[in-house]
């Protein structure tokens, strides 16, 4: 095995093969003296690359250049008279191999270069073999991107298609890990079935198996290779027959029945785990070998195709032909092995390049070097500096910015200086220098003519700073994060002394901002350009103050997994170059002007946000499935993306009763430029992808001057009821009640909360700190009834006070004190004075009821029982028949009361139905 690091590379380009031949006519010594000088220039002309040039290789180079026909890699020489990628944006695909008999990847040095752990290589079982192939593919995908080689499309052979789904954005990293890690791969095996590779096209094979119902074509691999699957004995007969005709055949060492209908009975566990994954729309064409077309965009369709992939033949030949027809010219094999030879076999007469990112014949970095040369020769722009800078990437050494790899420009001038010095001794070198200068000048002239607006020339090469694992502590409090006082879930009276009662919480988007900063600190000098797979487990509350462990763990060279305690986690993508912005969406037809203005949103308390988070500056439009608004970036960290959530909120408010919503998960965020700074005005468009009673999924674009600055997909909010009294109490707890006053003056509350999360939203609006402790101390099964009683009492007391002219009263101002079974009194706290009150309260099933009077001779009484049978009207008692509202079990209750309530309002005698 060759294992030479940093082998010299000779790269030359010239307008025509004739000009290039002229350059090569120089003596070998002059050419070798050029060393690694990176040639200047754009993508045009014709190009030559020679790895480790020597006399023999230079002689070959002269020969192939003289002939003017492409030469792609044999004997370390690459030549392309008309580079394949020069005038063809979108012409490069990553192709992921599946299982091959031989699996000898050379990736340890690549893993070290990237600063990640080497992938596992274990071929003990079909499952571990597959996992190893996919793991190596993922590492190479990261290595290629680090080299500045980005795919325009992806594809894969057999299980390699899952690698293509990862690289093309359908599977997230965690989803990919889950797919590999769940261990169902080994179950995908039909006993007794073998595969045989036959050295011919599919037509003669189909003919030969026509009379054999148990044998099927499983892979149409290439022009000259077809794989059949069936019982061993039958395959042996088929193979013998083909060999007799001179066709080379091989029984393959795998037994699985994959890609045949025979697998159907075995596929369930794996299919279920596959379909449970969070599939996303592809970020680029991801080609399916089942259909020989790009994957569909709808995730449901993607799932169905994944199942077909397991049960239908691999049509790799058709796939390659279609990809070529679509404009793909360069196939980068993202793995070791021989997949490229199947592509070459199929595209024998069509201009293309296949190049492996890994080879068993040389070290991983040595092969990447060849790949870089091959791609450069075809007009690609691999980052040679990063490749040479492997020492920079050792994980244990963080590199200060000043040791950054020089820009290409300075590498050129350094080389020209060396050449100039050489010219004083070697006359040919002087000629050569003149020629190079001519070429450089003409290139510069062309590029300048093309206009500086295109950003001609390359961006500076960033040093590859490895990502470190870090463990830090984040102090979360309103003193260190005063802006959180503008993000409190429970409003309280001005001057309220107990901050915990306001429930200041860290917004999800501020947590995302914190995770991006943590990721940047784990790789100083690098910038977060995206965030994937944000999961928000629970609220991060800032009062009382908390110290939260923030951990960063590198995933690969550009990705770091960040956790904020057990509150949130995400994978942050560090630059590199920001991803290209997608085109700006057009407004949805049928858009109307929102009923609410930006000021209404905050003044009418549809949004609870204080000034630090009031991002919406104008509501522009709402439509069936979208909303648009102008945002002005507030000062508070993370407030910009919180504004996106507010625009989603606007859409819900304008349309739906269940408008209270909080983010729980965001699949993908990309910053296409630097993060907009406070004060920047942007337009935000939110599109609804899916809506259900408890959840909404949206995607969003933030744009400035018509260009997309931030794009977001897979934004999942959890929705809560914002209709009626729940909405009122959410917006104005000091003026609203969850309970309803009944004829007769007593108060009734039927459980308004669908689920514990909804209950806890109200809880914090009703209970002060001491009462919350009391709630927490109660057995879980008692909590609902206890809270229903607290709420109904507080509402009854506030109602009693309002009847007597009191102003706004927050529920937490009232503390309920039990004074006996079904009896209590209430006292004011933090400044509220209440008279001595006699309160009766009762609870049964889903309802609670209360009456309030001043202490007097006749005690207040209230009682509830479930009315299980038909109820006869009861006379001479204060009694009501109460039915549960819709959404609760269909029960009815008999509520009876006596006492003070009767003194305030005229009770209705006899039985009466009442629905709260």
């Amino acid at each position: 095995m060759t294992d030479v690091t940093n082998e010299p590379i000779l790269r030359l380009h010239a307008p025509t093969p004739g000009d290039l031949a002229e350059l090569l006519a120089r003596p070998d010594a002059d050419l070798l003296a050029l060393g690694d000088a990176a040639p200047a220039g754009g993508a045009g002309g014709c190009r030559l690359g020679v790895v480790a040039p020597n006399a023999k290789r230079l002689a070959l180079a002269r020969k192939v250049v003289g002939r003017g026909r492409p030469w792609r890699g044999r004997n370390e020489v690459w030549f392309s008279p008309a580079p394949l990628l020069a005038d063809r944006p979108g012409g490069l695909a990553f192709v992921f191999p599946g299982l091959e008999a031989e699996f000898a990847p050379q990736v340890d040095d690549i893993a070290a270069w990237l600063g990640v752990a080497p992938p596992e290589r274990n071929v003990a079982t079909l499952g571990t073999h597959a996992a190893s192939v996919l793991g190596v593919g993922r590492l190479l995908d990261a290595a290629l991107r680090r080299l500045g080689v980005h795919p325009d499309a992806t594809a894969g052979h057999s299980i390699g298609e899952w690698g293509a789904m990862f690289a093309g954005g359908i599977l997230s990293g965690p989803a990919f890990d889950a797919l590999i890690g769940r261990g169902h791969l080994d179950e995908l095996r039909v006993p007794g079935l073998e595969f045989a590779a036959l050295g011919c096209g599919v037509a003669p094979v189909s003919e030969a198996i026509a009379g054999r119902p148990d044998v099927v074509v499983s892979h149409e691999n290439s022009t000259n290779q077809t794989v059949v699957c069936g019982p061993a004995a039958e395959l042996a007969e088929i193979v013998d027959a083909f060999r007799a005709r001179g066709v080379i055949c091989q029984i393959l060492p795998f037994r699985s029945g994959f890609h045949t209908p025979m697998l159907e009975p075995y596929v369930a566990p794996f299919r279920d785990s596959l379909l449970s994954l969070d599939l996303r729309p592809p970020a680029m064409p991801v080609w399916s070998a089942t259909t020989a077309e790009p994957f569909p965009v709808q995730t449901g369709d993607i799932g169905r195709l994944c199942v077909r992939h397991m049960l239908e033949p691999v049509r790799f030949r058709g796939l390659v032909e279609q990809m070529h027809a679509s404009g793909i010219r360069v196939f980068v094999q993202a793995g070791p092995g021989h997949l490229g030879s199947l592509i070459d076999d199929t595209l024998r007469d069509s201009d293309h390049l296949t190049i492996a990112a890994n080879s068993m014949h040389r070290s991983g970095l040595a092969q990447l070097r060849r790949l870089a040369v091959a791609l450069w020769v075809e007009g690609g722009q691999p980052d040679f500096a990063v490749l040479d800078a492997d020492a920079v990437a050792r994980p244990e050494t963080a590199v200060p910015a000043e040791t950054a790899v020089p820009e290409t420009g300075s590498a050129i001038s350094a080389a020209l200086t060396r050449l100039h010095q050489l010219g004083t001794r070697v006359p040919a070198a002087a000629d050569f220098e003149a020629l190079l200068t001519d070429v450089a000048e003409s290139v510069v002239a062309v590029l300048e003519a093309a206009g500086a607006a295109t950003g001609a020339g390359r961006p500076p090469v960033a040093p590859l700073v490895p990502i470190r694992a870090t463990d830090t502590t984040l102090h979360v409090s309103t003193s260190t994060m005063p802006y959180l006082l503008d993000h409190c879930l429970a409003a309280q009276r001005d001057g309220w002394p107990d901050e915990t009662d306001r429930r200041p919480v860290v917004p999800a988007t501020t947590t995302i901002w914190q995770m991006m900063r943590a990721a940047e600190q784990a790789a100083p000098g690098r910038t977060a350009i995206g965030v994937d797979d944000v999961v928000l487990h629970r609220w991060l509350v800032a009062a009382p103050a908390q110290d939260i462990a923030v951990r960063t763990r590198p995933v690969d060279v550009d990705r770091v997994h960040v956790t904020v305690g057990d509150f949130a986690e995400a994978t942050v993508l560090l630059g590199g170059t920001p991803e290209l912005a997608p085109p700006k969406w057009r407004p949805e037809p049928g858009e109307r002007t929102p009923k609410l203005s930006a000021a209404d949103l905050y003044e009418q308390r549809w949004m609870f946000h204080g000034p630090g988070f009031q991002a919406v500056s104008a509501c522009r439009g709402v439509a069936d499935r979208s909303a648009r608004a102008d945002l002005t970036v507030p000062d508070a960290p993370g407030a910009l993306l919180d504004g996106v959530g507010q625009v989603l909120g606007l859409w819900l408010i304008e349309r739906e009763e269940r408008w209270v919503a909080f983010p729980i998960r965001i699949a993908r965020i990309r910053f296409h430029t630097a993060e907009p700074s406070p004060g920047t005005r942007l337009e935000c468009t939110v599109r609804i992808r899916d809506i259900a009673p408890d959840a909404v999924e949206a995607e969003a674009q933030l744009t400035a001057s018509g260009r997309v600055v931030v794009s977001i997909s897979g934004w999942h909010d959890r929705r809560f009821d914002g209709g009626g009294r729940l909405g009122d109490i959410h917006r104005f707890p000091q003026l609203s009640t969850l309970s309803e006053r009944q004829p007769g003056g007593w108060w009734l509350l039927a459980d308004p909360w669908r689920g514990i999360a909804a209950r806890e939203l109200s809880l914090h609006k009703y209970l002060g700190a001491a009462e919350r402790d009391e709630y927490d101390a109660r057995p879980v099964r008692d909590r609902r009834g206890w809270l229903l009683q607290r709420v109904v009492v507080k509402d009854a007391v506030r109602g009693w006070m309002w009847d007597r002219g009191a102003g706004p009263l927050f529920p937490a101002e009232i503390v309920v004190v039990d004074t006996g079974t079904s009896r209590c009194t209430a006292v004011g706290q933090h400044g509220l004075h209440l008279p001595d009150l006699d309160i009766a309260v009762a609870h049964c099933g889903e309802i609670a009821a209360a009456t309030v009077q001043e202490q007097g001779p006749t005690p207040n009484i209230i009682h509830i029982e479930e009315a299980k049978h038909a109820v006869t009207p009861v006379n001479d008692a204060f009694t009501s028949l109460v039915r549960n509202p819709e959404g609760l079990p269909p029960r009815q209750y008999l509520v009876s009361w006596a006492g003070g309530a009767t003194t305030d309002q005229t009770p209705q005698r006899g039985s009466k139905e009442s629905a709260p």
């Binding site: 007799a244 001179g246 091989q250 021989h338 070459d344």
Partner: protein, 102 residues
């Protein structure tokens, strides 16, 4: 028909011509020696053996059945196959044919 002994060089040259064609290079662009392994040294892929097999049949006739020959070898030997061995195989099959004709 040439004698088996004399055919060695001729067969070797003919095989070189076939390999160059499969590699899509001009004769002599890549030097070939009998010791070169088809895969490691010449960079041929197993799928290329299919083409070589077909060209051998086209050139010499069906008795030179590389497929049948490879079937008798184990996979490591196939991968390590050298040009000289390929030439020996062709020479031997041509000799068998001559014997059969006598």
């Amino acid at each position: 028909m040439t004698t088996p002994q004399a055919s060695d060089t001729a067969v070797f040259d003919e095989i070189c011509a076939i390999v160059w064609r499969v590699l899509d290079v001009e004769p002599g662009d890549i030097e070939i020696t009998p010791d070169d392994s088809l895969t490691d040294d010449l960079g041929l892929e197993s799928i290329d053996l299919v083409t070589i097999g077909a060209m051998l049949i086209e050139h010499y006739g069906e008795q030179v059945n590389l497929a049948a020959h490879l079937a008798e070898m184990d996979i490591d030997d196939v991968i390590a196959l050298r040009i000289g061995e390929l030439a020996d195989f062709v020479t031997a099959r041509l000799a068998d044919e001559q014997l059969a004709e006598r």
